[in-house]
């Protein structure tokens, strides 16, 4: 096996692992409120989301022109830097999952790449102004816009309908939620599934295994679609609990308002050229639907921790990506060491998560995701009910 083939194989495997974490991280965006209100049984919800993710991945195979949309200078990016960036993004995705924190997978990937490029090519490889205009500003705007829209929509529903939460009205809202949640899952498959395909295709082209300017090969589409679908099906129940129960107790009308807003925001942003993070849109909508119903209902402590997570995503993934790039840059042995570190880190996080596991069976049983069993009472003094 030649060195190039080895490097390419390692990058492809790592990219697929990232795609898997992307799937279970974002499962909650589409289905958390539907699971929380009982519109869909948890396992059925993630099955629908997974199938739609795979369908979405096959629908949209027009590979992105650049990996990062101009955040890093793609001309200086090597496969080793992509590898290091992916490692940083995966480890951050797993860490936030352990704490049940919804955070943007795209931002984690950008952060990892930024760190890897900083180490590998210096500050000239990173466009800092693009970071502000494409990451920081959208990150501020997404929750505000989605929160405002979902808040208004929720407020109006409750103003018009005194018995919106009672049957049979609630049943209608739950059915509506199923549709809007499915739209989010489909949109997610077309956008995020395509990111991993883009990364793999770019690496194949860089290494000379594929002609420049050609689209992704079938096995790339199939494996990337499968990876994100499997990730989605595995559910990311820790994040699902925070999104569905942790921020606000969601009733069916709120769930419909939140998911419709999220779908509208995602479609508007992807068609009008101002990309917003799906995760931040969905979290903002859920928060807004809480404010629109009754102010005291929102658990601001959880919302605050979530915002801290968003602020940390870029620097934390960049730090990890940078360290990975420094080690992987030393050669093949370095890459093997980084990959071993990734496996060890992922295994450690998984083992820690087993102390207080969250699954399809208990996702709705509590409102907080904790690391140690019995920690619930001390961690959530702000529980209002």
């Amino acid at each position: 096996m030649t060195t190039t083939l080895f490097v390419v194989t390692l990058v492809v495997v790592t990219a697929l692992v990232f795609d898997f974490t992307n799937g279970f991280h974002d499962s909650a965006n589409a289905m958390a409120t539907a699971v929380a209100t009982g519109a869909l049984q948890p396992r059925l919800a993630v099955l629908i989301a997974a199938v739609l993710n795979v369908v979405g991945a096959f629908l949209s195979t027009e590979v992105a022109k650049t990996i990062s949309g101009g955040i890093v200078n793609d001309a200086v990016v090597t496969p080793v830097m992509i590898f290091a960036g992916l490692v940083g993004a995966i480890l951050w995705n797993l860490t936030t999952w352990l704490f049940g924190m919804p955070s943007s997978s795209s931002h984690a990937l950008f952060g990892g790449l930024i760190g890897a490029v900083l180490v590998g090519a210096g500050t000239a490889g990173v466009n800092f102004s693009v970071i502000v205009s494409k990451i920081v500003l959208p990150a501020l705007m997404a929750p505000l816009v989605a929160g405002l829209a979902a808040g208004l929509a929720t407020f109006l529903v409750y103003k018009w309908m005194r018995r919106a939460e009672d049957e049979p009205a609630a049943g209608w809202f739950r059915r509506g939620q199923t549709v809007s949640g499915s739209l989010i899952a489909l949109a997610h498959g077309t956008s995020d599934g395509q990111k991993t395909m883009g990364v793999i295709t770019l690496v194949l082209i860089t290494a000379g295994y594929q002609d420049s300017g050609t689209g992704p090969q079938f096995w790339v589409i199939a494996t990337a679609g499968l990876a994100i679908g499997l990730g989605t099906y595995s559910g990311g129940w820790r994040i699902m609990r925070t999104m569905g129960k942790g921020i606000v107790e969601i009733k069916a009308p709120q769930g419909l308002a939140a998911e419709t807003t999220s779908a509208a925001a995602i479609l508007a942003s992807s068609h009008m050229g101002f990309g917003l993070s799906t995760t931040q849109v969905c979290a903002g909508s859920i928060l807004g639907s809480g404010v629109g119903r009754r102010l005291a209902d929102v658990r601001w402590g959880t919302a605050r921790r979530m915002v801290y997570g968003w602020l940390l995503t870029l620097p934390a993934a960049a730090l990890t990506g940078g360290i990975a790039a420094a080690i992987a840059g030393t050669g093949t042995i370095g890459m093997v060491i980084v990959f071993a570190g990734l496996v060890a880190g992922a295994a450690a996080i998984y083992v820690i998560s087993r102390r207080a596991p969250v699954s399809a069976d208990n996702v709705n049983d509590a409102r907080d995701v904790v690391i140690n069993p019995g920690e619930t009472a001390s961690r959530s003094p702000e529980v209002i009910g």
Binding site: S129, L152, A164, L256
Partner: protein
């Protein structure tokens, strides 16, 4: 640094208007379908309400189809 304020504003306004109108239409439909006036609601009146309710839900469904149209690149 170039910030595309125009498309940011457009996205924000579109999101708010779309979300409020879709949820509004759907809620109107649900209200019409589940509203049972106290006393003797005329059969004729409730039939009209039911038709209007299904129409509203139908419009919301068409908007969802438009969403699928927007998502699938092959359509445009």
């Amino acid at each position: 640094m170039k910030i595309d304020w125009a498309s940011l504003g457009l996205v924000a306004v579109t999101t708010v208007v779309a979300a409020v109108s879709i949820v509004g239409i759907f809620a109107l439909g649900v209200a019409a379908l589940t509203h049972h006036p106290a006393g003797q609601g005329t059969t004729r009146g409730s039939a009209v309400a039911r038709a209007a309710g299904y129409a509203c839900i139908g419009i919301a469904g068409l908007i969802a189809l438009y969403g699928i149209y927007l998502i699938v690149p092959a359509f445009h």
